[in-house]
């Protein structure tokens, strides 16, 4: 509900809408990247050191973008939604990294979460674009 309200607000103005769209695009991209690394690692297509390092780097970048959004000029509801979504993506990357470090290849749930997050960001971004 809060998300829809935020969408309604940002949908009226050009610049915050573009900013929100960009933030959602980026969130989608990081969620898909994290998911792809996780999938490839589970398939054995990428080595452990790479997967661990990549997930660490993605988590760092997601947090950096989250901080930028938190200090940006987006409407409060949208900001809250994005910050929470970014936080959650960063935590998922961390948790996947910890699985990689432990060699636990049963991270299917985490990948499902990431997939859902990417889809949510995608759908919100689509609605923003259509406004």
């Amino acid at each position: 509900m809060a998300t829809l309200a935020a969408l309604a607000v940002v949908g009226c103005s050009g610049s915050p809408r573009d900013e929100a769209k960009k933030a959602l695009e980026s969130l989608h991209s990081w969620a898909v990247s994290t998911q792809m690394v996780g999938e490839r690692w589970m398939e054995g297509a990428v080595p452990d050191p790479y997967a661990s390092k990549a997930l660490q780097a993605f988590g760092k970048k997601v947090r950096k973008e989250r901080d930028k959004i938190a200090s940006g000029k987006l409407p409060a509801d949208m900001k809250r939604y994005l910050v929470a979504a970014y936080d959650s993506t960063a935590r998922t990357a961390d948790s996947l990294m910890s699985d990689v470090d432990k060699g636990d290849r049963s991270a299917a749930d985490i990948l499902k979460q990431l997939s859902a997050r990417a889809r949510a960001a995608d759908s919100l971004e689509g609605r923003l674009g259509a406004k």
Binding site: R40, P47, P49
Partner: protein, 405 residues
């Protein structure tokens, strides 16, 4: 027979000179963000590069002078110092980007941070230059660079959309992210029309003691070699368009680009990508360091030559040594290799006029080109390139700020 061998080697050489970190990064980013829509700058850049490389070789074969030697001779030191200083600054950034690319390739495989690899990579390059003859740089490193063929295999296995590829050969207006689109166009052109390739190529021709009988073989090397390099860059774009574009991934790090071939080739795709990145960058590091050493020594009238004993060409050796000592530090200090690459490719595009304008004079002067002066097609291409380079020089910095990401 010797010339036929040289033709083969020339084509192989283009792999090391062409497909380096700039081409890999800009093509991958273009494919991820705009699918096949940015194939045209690769084709345009390759055509321009074919002409310029052919002219550099022809100039060297006829005049026995390298591009920088001829520039200094024709325009005097006061003019020559402008491209020398400008290009050296930009080339320093390009060299740092290549070192960053090679260091990142090692991080991909070992998991040890790229910052730790920057100095060992520069040291390895220096040792190869110090100990190795010109043939090592010209032939053996690029021969190993055949590993980059994996991009063509990967792109074909991913089942490209041939119709969309044909559409991508024609410039079209972007439907979204206009600034980023044009920024990538500038980046691709900067990565493709790299001035150091021309300086390196003409110096190689002089080292190889080319004469008038090499005019035809030079043409074949330029056309086949650079086309082959362009095809590799296009294959990177196609693979990225097939893998990253449908997934909605924007590429902000080499970690993401490394996934490009893993879906279709599994772990082979990962390791061959890392090997391609490493060899492509190492080849470029050697060529860039030598190109600056050649340019400086030839322009300042110092003794030069990669086949000479280092103690006989001390100032030539000092130039590439100093470069390789200074270049890794940007990476050691933690600047993102992908960011350095984007910036250096954009600045390369911005400095193209300085590198290309002398061609129109030199290649029409019988003192330097003999009876092989440019025909009208060659002149049209150079004039077109100069106009394009001037536009790029003006728009590069604003685009870097707006669309550089």
């Amino acid at each position: 027979m010797k010339k036929l061998l040289q033709l083969t080697l020339g084509i192989v050489t283009s792999i090391g000179g062409f497909l380096e970190v700039g081409s890999i990064a800009s093509s991958a980013q273009a494919g991820a963000s705009f699918a096949y829509q940015l194939l045209w700058p690769i084709v345009l850049g390759t055509i321009v590069l074919i002409f310029l490389v052919e002219m550099s070789g022809r100039l060297a074969a006829v005049s026995k002078l390298t591009v920088s030697g001829a520039m200094r001779d024709r325009f005097g030191f006061d003019y020559f110092v402008v491209p020398l200083v400008t290009l050296s600054i930009v080339i320093y950034l390009v060299l740092a980007a290549e070192i960053g690319g090679a260091a990142f390739a090692l991080q991909l495989v070992t998991g040890i941070g790229y910052r730790w690899w920057a100095v060992p990579v520069a040291l390895l390059a220096w040792l190869l230059l110090w100990k190795g003859p010109f043939a090592l740089v010209e032939q053996w490193v690029p021969m190993i660079g055949l590993v980059t063929l994996v991009f063509i295999v990967g792109a074909l296995k991913l089942g490209p959309d041939w119709g969309a590829m044909v559409h991508g050969l024609v410039p079209t207006r972007p439907s979204h992210d206009k600034a980023h689109y044009w920024f990538l166009v500038v980046n691709i052109l900067g990565a493709t029309i790299a001035p150091y390739l021309m300086y390196f190529y003409s110096s190689g021709a002089v080292e190889g003691k080319w004469d008038g009988s090499y005019i035809t073989i030079n043409r074949f090397i330029a056309v086949l070699g650079m086309s082959f390099g362009g095809m590799l860059a296009a294959a990177v774009l196609v693979a990225a368009a097939q893998v990253f574009f449908p997934a909605g991934m924007k590429l902000d790090s080499y970690d993401q680009i490394a996934l490009m071939l893993t879906g279709v080739l599994g772990s082979w795709g990962f390791y061959l990508f890392a090997a391609s990145l490493f060899i492509g960058c190492l080849g470029a590091i050697l060529e860039i360091a030598l190109a600056v050493a050649y340019m400086t020594s030839q322009g300042l009238g110092w003794r030069w030559g990669q086949d000479e004993e280092p103690r006989r060409v001390p100032r030539f050796v000092l130039v590439y040594t100093a470069l390789l000592v200074l270049a890794p530090w940007l990476i050691v200090l933690g600047v993102s290799p992908l960011k350095v690459t984007s910036l250096s490719m954009a600045l390369t595009a911005a400095t193209l006029p300085v590198a290309i304008i002398p061609f129109i004079v030199l290649m029409n002067d019988p003192v330097y080109a003999g009876k092989h002066t440019n025909g009208w097609i060659g002149n049209v291409v150079v004039v077109f390139t100069i106009v394009m380079a001037c536009i790029l020089a003006v728009v590069t910095i604003p685009l870097q700020l707006i669309g550089g990401g």
